[in-house]
């Protein structure tokens, strides 16, 4: 049976098995209809022109999470940013792992989506926010909505700076021959509150994993949200990340995406402005090789005046890897005095690697500053010669130049331990040890 049919026919059983209130049930029933109608995206669609899911979808994915598989913290410690104190929400094969997690209900909720969907006390919040910024006509988002059951639920009341970062980590153990995971996160940051979140998906085996994740983030007035996505999965794991951010006036939201591994990685990142003086930051470093494929598909919708968006993606592609960057910026007629910046710079390490980059600006206001630039090039040989005349061997020299190329993005990472970890991952990825922490 094709995966689509399998999912659609599983839906009734899934819906009967869990107990939710009717409004969520209605949203889900509507969502499965959308998915049934549209199916998985194909290369015929403009938005998926350069990313094919065909081969991936031939796997016989199991779609229901079963019981928890136990993991020892010491075996998976390295996937955490373990040198900082943090809240942790950990899932194993889609099932919440209480013994690896550290959640809280003290003065804020850093807990589970399943609880938020079931318990009556969360109902008003769910009614207000669940599936309210996610794109309801998108097939993959709808698929996730239809099966939404588990994930992170975070609600920070107003005037609160969360005391430590939150790590959301999903493990796949290979307990199933092939598994499809559909985490659903809801993050609500009320007026004048601050939060930092680190997200990671990690497969622990060679069995195929497909994750179709949806995260909805609501940043209220003057809220500050910093989100770091670490994508360094094994070659058999693929990720479709759908992140939707709704920002109220004077809020500041940033998403940094570090893509260093995995089979197919698709990031659908969407920012929507609901007030004035909003700041949005979208940054990414992609360093891939083999046959890895990374696709950044972003949207910033400037719908109010006096807002800013800063977008900067650096890509380094080796071997037969392929990359896509599609950055769409929409500036509504009312959104005067918008400042929207977009940069996408790429280095192709050899002639088998490919990058397709496409800025897409739709500007309807006349008093705006919008700039975009994309470059595709090779490493600067003159610069490499300079390093070599200082005694630095070719390989290390290339690594230094690549690091320097990506540095702009790393500079804005606010958690030092995250920055250190990313530097380490980059050094590993480039196969060098430079004798100091990059």
């Amino acid at each position: 049976m094709e995966l689509k049919d399998k999912l659609v026919s599983s839906f009734m059983a899934f819906e009967n098995q869990i107990d939710v209130d009717t409004s969520v049930h209605d949203i889900r029933s509507e969502a499965i209809k959308i998915f049934e109608e549209k199916g998985f995206p194909t290369k015929k669609e403009e938005a998926w022109k350069y990313t094919s899911l065909n081969t991936l979808l031939k796997n016989d994915f199991s779609v229901f999470p079963k019981e928890e598989v136990a993991l020892d913290f010491k075996d998976i410690k390295k996937y955490f940013i373990h040198d900082i104190d943090s809240y942790k929400i950990v899932f194993i094969d889609g099932v919440y792992s209480s013994h690896l997690s550290e959640t809280t209900h003290e003065g804020m909720d850093i807990c589970l989506m399943s609880a938020a969907l079931h318990k009556p006390k969360y109902r008003p919040v769910i009614d207000n926010y669940f599936n309210k910024v996610a794109k309801t006509d998108d097939s993959l988002t709808s698929l996730n909505t239809a099966f939404s059951k588990e994930g992170a639920y975070i609600h920070i009341p107003k005037n609160k700076a969360v005391d430590k970062p939150v790590q959301i980590i999903h493990f796949a153990t290979g307990n199933e021959a092939a598994i499809m995971l559909q985490p659903r996160n809801l993050i609500i940051v009320d007026e004048n509150s601050h939060i930092q979140i680190i997200e990671r998906h990690q497969s622990l085996t060679e069995n195929p994993v497909l994750t179709n994740s949806v995260t909805e983030i609501f940043a209220d007035k003057r809220a500050v949200v910093d989100y770091y996505k670490i994508q360094n999965d094994v070659q058999s794991a693929s990720l479709i990340d759908n992140t939707y951010i709704s920002q109220q006036r004077d809020s500041n939201a940033s998403v940094h995406t570090f893509s260093f591994g995995g089979n197919i990685t698709r990031n659908n990142l969407n920012f929507y402005h609901k007030g004035e003086h909003i700041d949005s930051t979208l940054k990414g470093v992609t360093i891939v090789g083999d046959k890895q494929h990374v696709d950044h598909y972003s949207l910033v919708h400037h719908a109010q005046p006096n807002c800013e968006s800063h977008q900067d993606y650096k890509g380094i592609y080796a071997d037969r890897s392929t990359g896509v960057f599609n950055g769409k910026i929409v500036v509504d007629k009312i959104a005067q005095k918008t400042n929207a910046f977009q940069q996408n710079n790429n280095i192709l390490i050899n002639d088998k690697a490919t990058i397709n980059t496409k800025p897409q600006l739709e500007i309807f206001a006349d008093d705006v500053k919008c700039s975009h630039g994309c470059t595709i090039g090779q490493l600067d040989e003159e610069a490499l010669f300079y390093l070599r005349t200082r005694g630095i061997p070719e390989k290390e020299g290339r690594a230094l130049l690549m690091y320097a190329f990506a540095n702009n993005v790393l500079e804005s990472v606010k958690i030092p331990e995250v920055k250190r970890r990313i530097n380490k991952l980059i050094a590993t990825k480039l196969g060098v040890n430079l004798g100091f922490d990059l």
Partner: protein, 250 residues
């Protein structure tokens, strides 16, 4: 120290260096002067081991060892240093970290352990003091946002740290005002000893007032057409390069 014999080199089919002979002994300073396009930069690049140039004939010896087949970094490990006209910017890597990497890569190549951190620190402090370099400068990203003068000073700082046997200064004076020029030249002079040697490559005589050469060579159309003492530089300054060109063609 450095011996170059009948060096011919070029890119693709174009020959740029057409038979260079040069002998530099320990403790000496040589200046190589010449008009634009005479092959000055090609000569420094070829000595340092830039791969895009093809050496068709001749040899380069450093302390009696033929280095013609060595990679640029191997030549550096053997004690060759080339100061660049346009040093490269490396955002995110501090001057200190860069120099640590360079020094330890050289040590690694010689089968030595990394330089102990306290020794490294002491050396950095000493050399920075010697060259009157501010501590803050050392924690800045390598050459990023540096002025022309700062870039050249940083080159001399690297020279001081790496302690090469032979330093080639390629157009070190370009883009420097007189104060910056003096600082850089003083730095080079402080680093001179009876065991090392310096080759200064320059278009103008100006720098040679501060780094006084023992020998001056004039490069024209890929050949050394005239050699002399420091007075030759003054004569060139007074008469211009056309004088040499006319002498050659005459």
């Amino acid at each position: 120290m450095l011996t170059i014999k009948n060096l011919h080199a070029g890119v693709e089919d174009k020959e740029i260096l057409k038979g260079i002979d040069l002998e530099v002994k320990p403790g000496e300073v040589h200046a190589i002067m010449g008009p634009n396009g005479s092959g000055k930069s090609t000569l420094s690049s070829v000595i340092a081991g830039k791969e895009e140039y093809e050496v068709s004939e001749g040899e380069i010896y450093l302390e009696g060892e033929d280095i013609g087949e060595l990679a640029a970094e191997e030549r550096a490990h053997k004690g060759l240093f080339l100061s660049f006209q346009y040093p490269v910017e490396i955002p995110g890597v501090s001057v200190t970290n860069f120099i640590k990497t360079a020094i330890n890569e050289s040590r690694k190549a010689k089968g030595m352990e990394d330089m102990p951190a306290n020794e490294m620190l002491k050396k950095i402090r000493e050399k920075a003091e010697l060259l009157d370099i501010d501590r803050k400068f050392l924690s800045r990203s390598l050459n990023e946002g540096f002025s022309g003068g700062e870039k050249k000073r940083n080159e001399i700082f690297q020279l001081a740290m790496l302690e090469p046997k032979l330093a080639i200064l390629d157009e070190t004076d370009s883009g420097l005002d007189i104060d910056a020029l003096r600082i850089v030249a003083n730095g080079v002079n402080k680093l001179r000893s009876k065991d090392n040697a310096v080759v200064v490559i320059t278009h103008y005589q100006r720098l040679l007032e501060y780094i006084v050469p023992d020998f001056v060579h004039v490069l024209h159309d890929g050949k050394i057409v005239k050699s002399g003492t420091k007075e030759l530089a003054l004569e060139l300054e007074a008469k211009g390069y056309d004088w040499v060109k006319q002498e050659v063609t005459a």
